[in-house]
Structure formats: structure tokens, C-alpha cells
Amino acid sequence: MAKSHKPVVWFPFAAGGTVIAFCIPVIVLLTFLAALGHVPAGLSYDKMHSFAVSVLGKLIIFGVVALSLWSSAHRLRCTCYDFGLRADTLAAAVLYVAAIIGSVASAVFLLRI
């Protein structure tokens, strides 16, 4: 029996899972605080803008967004499978394309800053 090529999608999924576990709860909390008008001094618009202008900043933001999207897409694909949706190729195509579109969009927006 041939070995599987699933590591191609699984490795970014695992990396994205780690990013989601460590970064996303903090980002959600900070965004929530910002929405209520409580922006910590270190995360003011000017500081965040200058971070997003730098190449390293763009790479970090892109990494967090793209890996999180990919991980979520793969997790959703697995969840569909767990619930008995056997059209795995279709589910994979739709979800991965959505993740790729989101990643490309984040790259475009980052390059415009």
C-alpha cells in the first residue's frame, strides 16, 4: 500500500494549531478590549502600524493569519469527515480554496500598508 501524501496538508495544520492555541485567544481578547476603547499603550494604532510596515512585521502577521486559516480549514475538513460527509475531496477543495483566498487577501492588504 502506498504511503500517504497527507503530511503536505497536515504539517501546516499542526503549525497553525500551535499558532491558534498560543496567539488567537490573546488577539481575540485584545481586539475585544480595543472595541471597548481600552487599547494598551503598547498596542496603539501608531505602534501597530509601524509594526505592520516592517518586513518582519508583515511576515509575522501573514504567518499567523495564513497558518490559522489553513489549520481551521483542515480542522473543518476533518469535522465534516467525522460527521459522515464522505465527499472529502469536495470539502477539502472548498475549504482549502477559502483558506488560500484568505491568505492571499491578507498578503495583498499587508503589502498595501
Binding site: 504511503k3 500517504s4 501524501h5 503530511p7 503536505v8 504539517f11 476533518c78 467525522d82 464522505r86
Partner: protein, 250 residues
């Protein structure tokens, strides 16, 4: 000494005789049990006093042999480890899910046994030594790397809990893959490459979607889900070495 507390327990047991029944049906038994009994005690009482035709497997009555696995109120459990005091009302007892029923609560484990053989769950020595050179020694740290995974009692509860095995019966499954990991992790073993031919396929670790139900129901705390995730990491590293590193193809 205070007398033991008794309780009238209702058990709804799945009955099925493939030779005569067209389909399975539930039979309800009322049995007087002692409060500290387990479901297996209640079944034994039914067989002894009420209905000797009831079929089920059991042996040790102490969660070691792994033969009395069944679905109790829809959850895979060892019936010798399912205390009656943890249940209220009617207790529904069915054969292990995802396995063909041989008779009543007895299932056919043939598929699991065949898969177990395929992962070569035994030490394939890294180096063959003559007996005169003595035993293969191991440090406590080397033992701890696989000890947890060697605690499997082959009860198959993890197969009954795994939704992937239910949906894709060709999946090698939690217990067999965990035993592959147990031998891969053994410092005396050199058989990982052979086992990868089964482990790294679609039907091997990659059919697992990390639901984690296997680890929740495991009565021996083996944690098959962790073994499978570790094998996904090593299988992914293998894939990178084989496909992306020049000269890495084995």
C-alpha cells in the same frame, strides 16, 4: 457487620442469534443486585438464575483480560469496571459497536486481530546477538518512552469509540497503531521502517482525525490518541526527508 445494600436493577440487553433471528432485539431483565456490583455481576446473576441462554465474554473480572467490553448506555466499557452505582434507571447493554455480532453480546474480533498482525507488534531486533552476549539491556528512561503504550489489554473499546473506524472499516485503528508506536519507541527495536509501510498509509495514522474518543474510553490509560499524533509527526518528517531532501528517498 452491616448487611450489603441491595437494589433492583433493570437491564435491557441486546439479544441476537444469527442462526434463528432475522434481526436483533432487546430483552429486559429485572435482577436484584448488591449496590457495589458491576454490570458483569448483574449479567452473571441473570445467566445463573434467570436466563442461561444469554451469551457474553468475560474472564478476569478485574479489568486486566480485556474480554468483557460492551456498550453500556451507549458507551464502550469493560462490564467488570462499570459500577451499577454509577447508573440510574434502565441500563442498556449492547455488544461492542463497529464489530459484527456473533451472538448476543459476543462480537467477532477478527478484523482487529488481522490488523494487529499487520503492524508487526513485536520487537524486531536492531541487532541480533548470540545468547552468550547476554540480554538486551535498557535504561529506565528508555523503558519510560514506551511503557504507557505497552499497557494495552486489546479490549477494543477504542475501536468501538472511534467514529473513523465506524465510518471507514479499513482504518488500522487506535490500538493496533498504538502498539506499532510502542515497538517503534523501544530502544531494542529496529522495525520502524517495516511498520511504516502500514502506519504511514491513508488507512494508517492519516485516517485519524484526532477525535480523541479512544483515549477517553481506554480503561488502561494508554492514550492511543497521543501515540497516533506522535506517529503523524514522525511520518511527516519521513515524508519531508523522502520527497524534499535530495538523496533522502529510501
Amino acid at each position: 457487620m452491616t448487611p450489603l445494600k441491595e437494589r433492583l436493577v433493570q437491564l435491557e440487553v441486546l439479544r441476537y442469534y444469527p442462526d434463528t433471528d432475522t434481526e436483533a432485539h432487546f430483552q429486559t431483565y429485572e435482577v436484584v443486585c448488591q449496590e457495589e456490583w458491576v454490570v458483569l455481576d448483574a449479567l452473571n446473576k441473570i445467566k445463573a438464575d434467570i436466563d442461561p441462554t444469554l451469551n457474553y465474554r468475560w474472564s478476569c473480572h478485574m479489568a486486566v483480560c480485556g474480554s468483557c467490553g460492551m456498550m453500556i448506555n451507549g458507551e464502550p466499557k469493560l462490564s467488570c469496571h462499570a459500577f451499577l452505582r454509577e447508573y440510574e434507571g434502565v441500563i442498556r447493554v449492547e455488544p461492542l459497536a463497529h464489530f459484527p455480532v456473533e451472538r448476543d453480546l459476543v462480537t467477532a474480533p477478527d478484523d482487529f486481530m488481522e490488523k494487529l498482525k499487520r503492524v508487526k507488534p513485536y520487537v524486531i531486533p536492531k541487532e541480533i546477538k548470540p545468547i552468550s552476549e547476554g540480554e538486551y539491556k535498557q535504561t529506565p528512561a528508555q523503558l519510560m518512552k514506551f511503557r504507557q503504550y505497552s499497557m494495552c489489554i486489546n479490549c477494543m473499546l477504542c475501536y468501538a469509540a472511534c467514529p473513523q473506524y465506524g465510518l471507514t472499516p479499513s482504518f488500522i485503528g487506535p490500538a493496533a497503531l498504538t502498539l506499532a508506536h510502542r515497538y517503534n519507541q523501544d530502544s531494542r527495536d529496529g522495525g520502524r521502517k517495516e511498520r511504516q509501510e502500514v502506519v504511514a498509509t491513508h488507512e494508517g495514522v492519516w485516517e485519524c482525525t484526532f477525535v480523541g474518543a479512544c483515549s477517553e474510553v481506554c480503561p488502561a490509560h494508554v492514550d492511543p490518541a497521543s501515540a497516533l499524533q506522535q506517529m503523524k509527526i514522525t511520518s511527516s518528517i519521513d515524508w519531508i526527508v523522502e520527497h524534499l531532501i535530495p538523496g533522502g528517498k529510501s
